[in-house]
Subunit: 117 residues, 2 copies
Amino acid sequence: MDENVCIETSKENMLALKDSLELLSGKWKFCILLSLYIYGSQRFKDLLANSVGGISPKVLSKELQDLENNLLITRTVNNTKPVTVTYALTKHAAETQPVINALITFGKKHRSQIIAK
Amino acid sequence: MDENVCIETSKENMLALKDSLELLSGKWKFCILLSLYIYGSQRFKDLLANSVGGISPKVLSKELQDLENNLLITRTVNNTKPVTVTYALTKHAAETQPVINALITFGKKHRSQIIAK
DNA sequence: GTTATCAATTACCTTTAGGAAAGTTACTAT
DNA sequence: ATAGTAACTTTCCTAAAGGTAATTGATAAC
């Protein structure tokens, strides 16, 4: 039976992996999250211009909505003129930090691997 | 100067993150790697039918080539009739394990978060 | 009343990812 | 000669991701 338990666990892990990928795969989500880690909560314009680099307003808007729907960020409209909107990480978003750190570590090591080739 | 050092590091991290995503983003690469972790080296047919689940031969072939070009797996043609081909993780691929584990952990926690909502 | 700012949204388009189905090559077994 | 197997490859197609540029709505400053 131990083998079946093991196979079950493997399938569970594969499903959990696929869940994560469905949400976080793509060019921008991790970058937005990293930017919010580094610089703290930010306004739309800051994310657009400074921190992420290269993203368009349309795509940024869509990605932020996805992240909000999945409880990883909060969206706060401020009482300023003109209106500003602040995006911040939720507590739950802390769960993505190990992923991002691991991706950064891999990215650095991988670069040297490829150069060495 | 400390602030500039910090900003430089941030940009470096963002680039490393983008490097990782360029290679590993998408529906299948992490699944293939996880499958090779769990079940060890496998043949094309095994990856296709059993372990990953749902991938087509065309896509599997392309993903395996990408991973091989990036030194994450090796491709070995065996002396069998008919020919079989075995795919195995390289030593360098071990660097992706923390990413995958973190993604699995996040996937599980995220599922309960979303259900609770 | 014109211009500017912020946070988008809309329309349009191109590129990439990915899937389905059939075909290919090389070999073996019957 | 025919059928089967393994590892692909090819063709064709759709859907999703992502980019560009212009526009919107609310507000305020000049």
